[in-house]
Symmetry: C2
Subunit: 97 residues, 2 copies
């Protein structure tokens, strides 16, 4: 974790517990979600897209069949903010965590 | 283009005309789609997801806000096949080309 993160560790710890990790050398959160198949993976992405629009905060993400890799960071702030934590929680919820 | 591609150039040329390119060092087709905003980008992805399920052939793709980067290849065949050409055409159609 860099010094840039304005969030304290207590806020991030629950996310580390569900598989989120600090990105190497970047003030960002990464997670890889694995689903049963493409259909389930894209259903997750569709729910997250709605959440992202509601928050006006969007993920960087990639999809290959049943895998969805996500990176969250707040470009305007140059690092992690509460928006990333909020979107991460919503993603976990959408994935059934 | 590697020697692996079983498709002739005449089949691929129309795709090169709409912005598809052979991936560097891989027998795959790449294209970057740019939309007005995230909403439009994800609407495109939603249409393509339906097409991919219909073809049972799926893209490797990533999304950052209004940009969608796509790579098409047929893993089972170790290179490009008609399925990739079909999905590429459907993507162009979904993007309004």
């Amino acid at each position: 974790m860099t010094d840039k993160t304005e969030l304290d560790r207590d806020t991030l710890l629950p996310l580390f517990g569900t598989g989120w990790k600090m990105a190497d050398g970047k003030d960002a959160l990464d997670k890889t979600f694995l689903f049963k198949d493409f259909k389930q993976a894209f259903a997750f992405m569709t729910q997250v897209a709605e959440d992202a629009e509601a928050l006006n905060h969007h993920p960087e993400w990639s999809n290959v069949y049943r895998t969805v890799k996500v990176r969250l960071t707040t470009h305007d702030a140059g690092g992690l903010t509460g928006l990333d934590v909020d979107l991460a929680r919503r993603m976990d919820k959408a994935a059934g965590y």
